[in-house]
Amino acid sequence: MAETLLCFRRISTREGPVKSGRLSRLKQDTDIIKKVQDGDSDAFSSLVVKYYRGVYNLAYRLTGNQEDAMDISQETFLRAFRNIDSFKLGHPFKPWIYRIARNACIDRGRKLGRSLPEESLEGNVVTQVRASSPMPGPEQLYDNRELREILEDAIGQLDEGYRELIILFHLEGLSIKECSEITGLKGAVIKNRLYRGRQALRKILQERGFKW
């Protein structure tokens, strides 16, 4: 019962009312963006410092390539800087910059003639490690780099529509509303895809003998 109650507490934090911390972050970002819009381009650096990790991680997870992720991160902030005047003050900055990052990933994929990271499992170091080692529980692997590689690999196998939502919702911790702002999809579609994506991810992990 204690675990169930813990679940209830978590439920209220995910889609619940906006917290004061989030509000103050929103105000901080709004102040900075207003400065940039008024011509203080140096203020933009603080936005870069604040969000480059998230943007990089999103790009890395969507492309599966470090070099591409770096280029996309740079391109994302350049696009944001060029279009900062179109940003509506009072709105959260994170979904806006993530949407730009997502579009930059799509554009880059089109340019390079690929739509998603094609990392074959055959010959992958992760697969070899998994095959040769006994199956430890996920708790034992939490601090293990191997766990991340396995999960990222499994997420990489998902259909593109599911993958990006799994990344945004589960890995980046965004809400359904924020996911909707980034992808332009309706909330109901996102919920449905998230559910399907999780099912597919479970299937992949179970096929690999993974238990949680």
Binding site: M1, E3, T4, C7, F8, R10, I11, S12, T13, R14, E15, S41, S45, V48, V49, Y52, R53, Y56, N57, Y60, R61, Q66, A69, M70, S73, Q74, F77, L78, F81, P138, Y142, L147, R148, L151, Q157, L158, D159, E160, Y162, I166, F169, H170, L171, G173, I176, G187, K191, N192, L194, Y195, R196, G197, R198, Q199, A200, L201, R202, K203, I204, W212
Partner: protein, 225 residues
């Protein structure tokens, strides 16, 4: 590509009923866990879960799976990435500034070329001012009511005088008279030159003085920089 293929109901929502009859489906219980069910459905599922041991287990399983996903550590970006992004943004800003500076340099620049452009622009403005400046004072003023200081007809007159050589002859006559009779010769001016001409000279003098002062300031600024 791995996709999930589950049966759909009439509304297109996936139906995945597991557990005993009356238990919420997997989609619903996951929606409950992640907090995106409607308030009514949330209450119903919560009520059910509190009493159903099987659903509690399902919920715990969902939580463990969520922990697994949400505990994936972030990939630490290369250390140079942040400075690289900031540098590229600053370059972008510099390029934007340089573009505007390049466009406005002839008018706002501080080099010799810019001063010359301003010089030429001032002359053009001066001419336009003479041509099209309309009198703004009350009627009966210096130039008469609603007249131009210098109109196309006046320009035509000056042109004719220049071409025929009369202007030079008249000016010479004025100079000779000034030498011979001093201020008395001023009367001659009114006879040989149009009535507006002294006014134009006064106005032009004022404009030229202001313009020369501006030029001197500009040049001294250029020297200082």
């Amino acid at each position: 590509m791995v996709t999930s293929k589950l049966p759909l109901d009439r509304k297109g929502t996936e139906v995945d009923r597991v557990g005993s009859a009356g238990c919420p489906g997997q989609n619903e219980i996951e929606g409950y866990f992640y907090g995106y069910l409607s308030p009514l459905r949330t209450r119903l599922v919560k009520y059910h879960v509190e009493k159903c041991a099987q659903c509690q287990k399902r919920l715990e399983e969902i939580e463990r799976f969520d922990d697994l996903l949400s505990n994936i550590p972030l990939e630490e970006p290369p250390p140079e990435l942040c400075s690289r992004i900031i540098e590229s943004v600053q370059n972008e800003q510099s390029a934007k500034d340089a573009k505007w500076r390049q466009l406005l340099r002839p008018l706002l620049g501080e080099d010799v070329f810019s001063v010359r452009v301003r010089w030429a622009a001032s002359i053009v403005l001066l001419l336009l001012n003479f041509l099209f400046y309309r009198r703004f004072s009350l009627s009966g003023g210096l130039l008469g009511p609603k007249t131009y200081i210098l109109g196309w007809a006046d320009l035509r007159f000056i042109y004719d005088q220049l071409v025929s050589g009369d202007l030079w002859a008249n000016l010479k006559a004025v100079l000779v008279a000034l030498r011979a009779d001093g201020l008395f010769a001023l009367e001659i001016i009114t006879d040989v030159l149009p009535g507006w001409f002294p006014n134009v000279l006064i106005l032009a003098g004022v404009v030229v003085v202001v313009w020369v002062a501006h030029l001197v300031v500009c040049r001294s600024e250029v020297r200082r920089t």
